[in-house]
Symmetry: C2
Subunit: 480 residues, 2 copies
Amino acid sequence: MTERNLTMLTDFYEFTMANGYFEKGIGNRRAYFDMFFRRVPDGGGYAIMAGVEQLIEYFNNLHFSEEDIAYLRSRKCFSESFLNYLRDFEFECDVWAVPEGTPVFPGEPLVTVAGPMIQAQFVETMILLTINHQTLIATKANRITRAAEGRTVLEFGSRRAQGYDGAILGARAAYIGGCQGTACVLSDRDYKIPAGGTMAHSWVQMFDSEYEAFKAYADIYPDNCVFLVDTYNVLKSGVPNAIRVAKELEAEKGIRARGIRLDSGDIAYLSIEARKMLDAAGFEDMQIMASNSLDEYLVRDLLVQGARVDSFGIGERLITSKSEPVFGGVYKLAAVEDENGEIIPKIKVSENVEKITTPHFKQVYRLFDNKTGKALGDVLTVHDEQIDASLPYVLFHPVYTWKQRIVTDYTVRPLRVQLFKHGKCVYNSPDVEDIRKYCIREVDTLWDQIKRFENPQTYFVDLSKKLWSCKNELLEACRI
Amino acid sequence: MTERNLTMLTDFYEFTMANGYFEKGIGNRRAYFDMFFRRVPDGGGYAIMAGVEQLIEYFNNLHFSEEDIAYLRSRKCFSESFLNYLRDFEFECDVWAVPEGTPVFPGEPLVTVAGPMIQAQFVETMILLTINHQTLIATKANRITRAAEGRTVLEFGSRRAQGYDGAILGARAAYIGGCQGTACVLSDRDYKIPAGGTMAHSWVQMFDSEYEAFKAYADIYPDNCVFLVDTYNVLKSGVPNAIRVAKELEAEKGIRARGIRLDSGDIAYLSIEARKMLDAAGFEDMQIMASNSLDEYLVRDLLVQGARVDSFGIGERLITSKSEPVFGGVYKLAAVEDENGEIIPKIKVSENVEKITTPHFKQVYRLFDNKTGKALGDVLTVHDEQIDASLPYVLFHPVYTWKQRIVTDYTVRPLRVQLFKHGKCVYNSPDVEDIRKYCIREVDTLWDQIKRFENPQTYFVDLSKKLWSCKNELLEACRI
């Protein structure tokens, strides 16, 4: 895999601020930053965390080359002592993150970075870019696979992705979120995302007839025959030719054709009619794949109409999350340490209530009901708080504080893992295959009400009493 | 700049088809493919071509490493002779493309590839991915800069981009389309897109007061003072502190502060009030920048409301083209050569009339009115046709053929350049700075009716009589 140094993939103001902290002698003050998001795309009930492996690569590669230093010097606004600092840069931060594949919710810190102000600030752009992108696509993939109700969903969107990484890492994120594979070969070679595909319309056009095109394909790939049947006329030509070649394949080699693909037209009608024709010809096992600008809404709608589709190839609407192509993660200062090493929580107020941050260096816990195995809610606490599962726990709403719920017979799990300890990586990313399985298990812990597309229930993300009090005190102090 | 070999960034079916053509002995048959699009995003009147330089890099780098061969062998569906062909792969195609920065229209071939079937097919995914992405962003940037009516527009979206190239090459495309700069440092280092930026809210929060934060910034960057004024309260605190520090900067160093930035709240109201305060304090030259989830519609709306904004920082809605995040370019077979080297035009029919392709190996001409300098229309011809500008030319509508227009006193220009000749690059990409200037000049050749956001006039993209007849004959022949 090609290693790229993405250290310079950052907003220019990260450098002006870094140099500024350096010059003012406060660059080494320890600061705490949280990455979190405020709402789930498409009005969904949860998002699927993704991108942590690439974030770790970024931190591990963080360094400034002589070329970078020369570029920065040419900008004539950074001091030589700062450039020397960059030349000898060593990453010293602690980093925590929610593991990939975990369902996550608005308001909870997905990534926390603690370390020298100058460093903890600098990594903002890449943390947001990496997690925002992959979480967006994993979340969309999870919606689409849910709509497909157990049918296969494949990611087919490379050609419409927003840039090369949009395709490559988008395929990875889609797999984490639930897709069974991709069309993207590079994602298979480098990230072990199973890639597949058979033929385009141009294959069919290159032969003198559709039959000859299918026949040629079956000669070469007898084990992987999925015929694209909509180049001329699906029901009059495509399906009959597919059946004819499937029969010959069976007669000549004893191999069953895998199926057909519909890439245009009325998928509901055509799939139902094609199914009848395949069944009547004795090919009940031949599958029907559909792939025409689909998303979770169209997939669900097709199934409501009784479409006989066994697998879906999803392109542009998945790889760009077309209906909502932005995951709005932000990265905010949560605390700084004073000279004595005491943590001073920081809050960012706003006239928009939902833009007020939750201060302090925090921990995140997820509580599971022991009877059902279902997730009860997440609790944000001050970093050193523990939740003792042998005692009842009071979940209460951070705004409507009279809304309380006492939970008993539960298990508690810290939601995040530590990735870096004083700049050294202390976490091994799981295989993407394991992440995908973990995602399926974790989504299973959510109640159906959280999972529906329209008006899902809001999952509890509450604050501990201690954290709630801290936030309120800071809010009171801000009142002018 | 890090070189990446993106040869394997392709759909798996490109390989199954390539191996298939190879095995059937038709891999070297010469084929002609066109890349074109069917509609302009956001209902616009034109798109801005971008991505050609990256496409050239891709073609120049096209080769298969031993690692790639090993991966393909592991898939157990490709012949050893095919893998040997890939090992010795040499790109032999001819490639033509519309230069970057050119306004382009639905239905015209933006890229044409002619060469051995096996190769001309294989490059489909990367041509589409590259041109679709950058053309999407350049087109959006052009809309936003048009809305800003001469004010500065900067691209600020890295953190919300869809992957790393989405940020890096998105900044490049945005610059081509009309932005004056970016926040993305890597795009500046590698692509000479001017990057800039000053401070985030966290800078302001890190000091004991807003005044001290601004003062510290002015100490270090006296020549580049743009104060972010919305951390606490824009009019009660942010602007007064900015004015105080600006006065001190002037008194102490004789330097004028550059301006202030608004990143939240009611930009129309706040900018008008802030303008009054700055003017009253004698800082008529301090500029006001706005940057809060803006796009062309909000920019236009702000200006209609009389907002006093001098420059716009545009993030997620530009870097993802949020309102329409997909550019739907397609890549279709247009012709093949027979054994005698005769070009056989190919058509792809569809029940959707707009999905019917225009067959044949084509040329594209743009006609300009000599009196006004304005573009009159584009004409697609068979490849060997010339348009003699000394004679009147009849433009006619390809569907409503009675709609004709005779043009005289015009200049004709082939719209495309040749990039590769038998696999060798014969084109030097211009500097991105020159592309940007060229784009401004070329957009100036479009009538205002084409440029408006709502219901723009449809620009003429016509066929020559010869090409129109060819298309009609093929359509007649398809009729079942």
